[in-house]
């Protein structure tokens, strides 16, 4: 649940940075931003720290909680999941700090000429720094939620401090009426005899992982930027990673395109126009045709009207005679007589 705070925070902070750079989204073109956009920088820092799971910030507790739960779950699968979780936590920490370093530290890699002119002239007091013209802090509109979320993501975790660390998990009970599950779950887990010591050692493990991630990012992207690239440029792994595992391309080819195609052809065309609207249209057509038929009865010709009248009368008389005969003779007793009388 605490994820929400720093997720939202990071989104907004990223938005703020992008705004500052007038729509530049590519991290490689950023850098050294921390002096320009201090508020964004600090809130982003809070978010990154939180998501990386550095104690005592929010992400630590939630992540810790999740990992602890997986570890403590009865099956062996739990252990594996825990390991994977820990690894991804480390990677998360790594890439978040990588982002942090690349964006806010190091050389300024953006160029004024590349940036849009939307905000030109806003920083008039800053004219001495021609180079930085246009790169500026976001308006307070954007910053206020950032700051609030930043504070929240730092302290948000405290409401969920596990018992082992001496706190009562307020957050868990917070949604109790809704999540009646949580309380039960906790009971079930505590009944398994998982000790608080285990929880502490697991917490330590995750902290170490987070710090490792930070260290790696520090080394590769701040201290010696580019080394990672140079050293491993040739290896397949880096290429794979650099291409984001080709995930985007695979997504594009196997998921996005088919989904769009299917949605367009199958859903919109076949089902929505065909089935859903088609049945309605068919019913309407049927009714209209029937209406057209009744209209044909109306020739305007007096003789035909008299004919209809006589025909109708004859039908009524025949029906009544027939039914009354049916009542009074055994010959036609089994024929349907009363069409609407169900009593």
């Amino acid at each position: 649940m605490t994820q929400a705070f720093f997720k939202a925070l990071l989104f907004l902070a990223a938005g703020s940075v992008i705004h500052a750079l007038s729509g530049e989204q590519d991290m490689r073109k950023m850098g050294g931003m921390w002096r320009r956009t201090p508020v964004t920088f600090w809130t982003m820092t809070a978010g990154v720290i939180a998501i990386a799971g550095v104690p005592p910030f929010a992400g630590f507790f939630s992540k810790d909680e999740i990992l602890y739960r997986t570890f403590a779950s009865p099956s062996h699968l739990g252990l594996l999941l825990w390991a994977i979780g820990l690894l991804t936590a480390g990677l998360t920490s790594f890439y978040m700090f990588r982002l942090w370093f690349k964006t806010f530290f190091g050389a300024e890699r953006f160029h004024e000429s590349d940036l849009g002119q939307v905000h030109a002239g806003e920083n008039e007091h800053d004219e001495g720094q021609a180079h930085a013209h246009g790169v500026h802090e976001s308006p307070w509109v954007m910053l206020l939620p950032l700051v609030v979320l930043g504070v929240l993501s730092l302290v948000g975790g405290w409401v969920g401090i596990p018992q082992a660390l001496g706190g009562a998990n307020h957050f868990e009970h917070f949604l109790d009426p809704v999540f009646a599950s949580t309380a039960m779950q906790e009971n079930a887990l505590n009944a398994d005899g998982v000790s608080h010591r285990l929880e502490l050692s697991l917490a330590l493990a995750s902290v170490v992982t987070a710090l490792l991630g930070f260290a790696a990012a520090y080394v590769f992207y701040y201290k010696k930027p580019g080394t990672l690239g140079q050293r491993t440029a040739g290896s397949g792994l880096y290429r794979l990673v650099a291409a984001k595992y080709y995930v985007d391309e695979i997504y594009q080819a196997f998921i996005v395109t088919p989904v769009y195609f299917a949605s367009r052809m199958l859903l919109i065309w076949a089902i929505d126009s065909g089935l859903v609207n088609g049945t309605g249209a068919a019913a309407a057509w049927l009714t209209r045709t029937a209406g057209e038929g009744t209209r044909r009865m109306q020739s305007g010709n007096l003789r035909s009207y008299a004919g209809w009248l006589a025909g109708g009368a004859a039908a009524v008389l025949l029906l009544m005679t027939y039914t009354s005969l049916a009542r009074h003779s055994t010959l036609v007793q089994h024929l349907p007589v009363n069409l609407f009388d169900h009593r």
């Binding site: 917070f174 809704v178 039960m184 779950q185």
Partner: protein, 536 residues
């Protein structure tokens, strides 16, 4: 306050009605109509707030609060019987809230024939509030049908394209013909039980005292359910939805779909025909799951903002359907909560689209684009609203979707609960995809045709006033969900047959505890998957 409790529902109904009459008499000059309509809706809203404030004190022994019952027609005995429970109370408050926002949204958008517009708008509100407040089946039906008329004329008169007449008639026919069957069902129920009183019918159901063969009960329950399902709309019955939504003016769209039908299913189908509803639930679980994916996928490929929103509505309402038909505590709670959420998040989305339309005169995403720099406030609120619709944690829809998914995963009614839950979960990803794509296309992509031609100011104070209450509610309802679910919970406990028990001590609780752990894991996975969708 007791004196008010007895008549507050009548006041809530009478205020907009009197307002409608007043508006019909006032001249259509200057801003008289707008201000009057705003004042009337605000007073109504203030009155609706009385309900949650005094709900617990006013509750009767049958679970309904603020009851008021007076004979209306002697034979067959029809009573003017009003009352609310947890669900209908919140729906009334929601309708009360959306009305002034709708007036604000129409402030400039409706520039001609304002008198007609606001009169019909208020009439529509009366009918809708009446549906939620009625405890007499006949009275309920009267309001239910009445709700159709103002909406139809609103669409026909103020629709934006040449298709408006068609859309209006389509809307009316889709809703009216099943209602005819509903009336047959109601009449059958009356001849079988001799009463129209909902509390009495519910009591009879609880004692299995409704006479009638199981065959007849089945047919009657189907008549009820079919009418409601079309009104919601549930997946294959949504033929009217996209046309009506894309034509109707913003204020009307905000109250067009969802609430009435889902409320009616919960109150009448589940209340009076519990066994039949449980029997048919597997079908609706499947339809709900399909509807989620279907709505999201079709929304993904729409170029028109309103049509996209229409299919997104279908997706959201399918979520509610999935939740309530799971017949689990979490599912019902979540489904009901999603009804409210949809009103708020969907409403905000429609408001924003309406504001965009006022500026650029088009809903076509191909003509928009690159607006982020020009309309910073609007883009901010758009993103917040989109995130709320997607179900970002801490915002309102997350709670509802989470509960719905965990409910549908636990359900014992469907044979493959996990399969359908998984299908529904993919729908969540798609919904993130289409909303973020929409924002990208409207606000970040290259400048479009319309956005080049016109320059428009950012949100005005009036528009801020319309949006911020909803934006605030995203967070409030995301964080303080227990406050709302507490009252909804009563109904879901009734339908699941569980009573309030001390948390997790009994042996049976352990079993369900394990099920819940599985469910939680699954939904966590769902959330992670969705986050991936977000990042893309």
């Amino acid at each position: 306050m007791n004196s008010v409790n007895g008549i507050v529902l009548t006041l809530i109904l009478l205020t907009p009605l009197a307002g409608a009459v007043l508006l019909a008499l006032l001249p259509d000059r200057g801003r008289i109509q707008q201000w009057t309509a705003l004042a009337v809706t605000l007073v109504t809203f203030a009155l609706t707030l009385h309900l949650p404030a005094y709900f617990h004190g006013a509750q009767g022994s049958n679970g309904f609060a603020f009851e008021q019952s007076r004979p209306w027609i002697p034979a067959p005995l029809i009573r003017y019987h009003l009352g609310v429970d947890g669900l209908s109370m919140w729906l009334i408050v929601l309708s009360g809230l959306l009305a002034p926002l709708g007036v604000l949204a129409s402030w400039n958008a409706i520039s001609t024939r304002r008198k007609l517009f606001y009169t019909l708008f208020l009439l529509q509100q009366v009918a809708m509030l009446g549906v939620f407040a009625s405890l007499d089946l006949f009275l309920y039906y009267a309001f239910w049908e009445l709700a159709l008329v103002p909406m139809t004329i609103l669409i026909a008169t103020f629709g934006r394209t040449e298709q408006r007449r068609r859309a209006a008639i389509k809307y009316f026919l889709y809703a009216f013909i099943p209602s005819a069957l509903l009336l047959v069902g109601i009449l059958w129920l009356y001849t079988a039980t001799g009463t129209f009183q909902v509390p009495r019918l519910l009591a009879m159901t609880a004692q299995h005292a409704i006479p009638g063969s199981s065959h007849a009960m089945w047919l009657a329950s189907l008549a009820f359910l079919f009418a409601f399902a079309v009104k919601v709309p549930i997946f294959p019955l949504h033929g009217w939805l996209s046309d009506a939504i894309s034509e109707a003016p913003t204020a009307a769209v905000m109250v067009l779909a969802g609430k009435l039908g889902l409320y009616s299913i919960l109150r009448f189908s589940f209340g009076i025909f519990p066994e039949q509803s449980r029997h048919i639930a597997p079908l609706f679980i499947i339809l709900g799951a399909i509807g989620i994916v279907y709505g999201a996928c079709t929304a993904l490929v729409q170029d028109d903002l309103k049509r996209m929103a229409a299919y997104s509505t279908l997706g959201h309402l399918s979520f509610c359907t999935l939740g309530i038909f799971s017949f689990t505590l979490a599912g019902l709670d979540g489904g009901m909560y999603q009804i409210l959420n949809h009103g708020i998040s969907g409403g905000a989305l429609f408001l924003l689209m309406g504001f965009l339309y006022e500026r650029y005169g088009t809903y076509d995403m191909r003509n928009l684009g690159g607006l982020a720099g020009r309309l910073p406030w609007m883009v901010t609120l758009f993103i917040v609203t989109a995130l709320s619709n997607v179900g970002l944690p801490m915002l309102n829809s997350f709670v509802g979707e989470f509960l719905v998914l965990s409910g549908s995963a636990q359900t014992t009614l469907s044979r493959h609960p996990m399969l359908w839950t998984a299908v529904a979960t993919t729908g969540v990803i798609f919904s993130a995809a289409y909303l973020l794509t929409m924002i990208q296309r409207v606000f970040y992509a290259d400048l479009g045709h319309a956005s080049v031609q016109r320059t428009a100011p950012d949100l005005s104070a009036r528009e801020h006033m319309a949006l911020w209450p909803l934006a605030l509610l995203f967070v409030v309802m995301g964080v303080c969900s227990p406050y709302f679910t507490r009252t909804l919970d009563v109904l879901s406990r009734q339908y699941t047959g569980t009573t309030m028990q001390p948390t997790g001590t009994t042996a049976s609780a352990d079993r369900s505890g394990i099920e819940l752990v599985q469910a939680t894991q699954l939904t966590t996975r769902a959330v992670q998957l969705r986050d991936k969708g977000d990042r893309r």
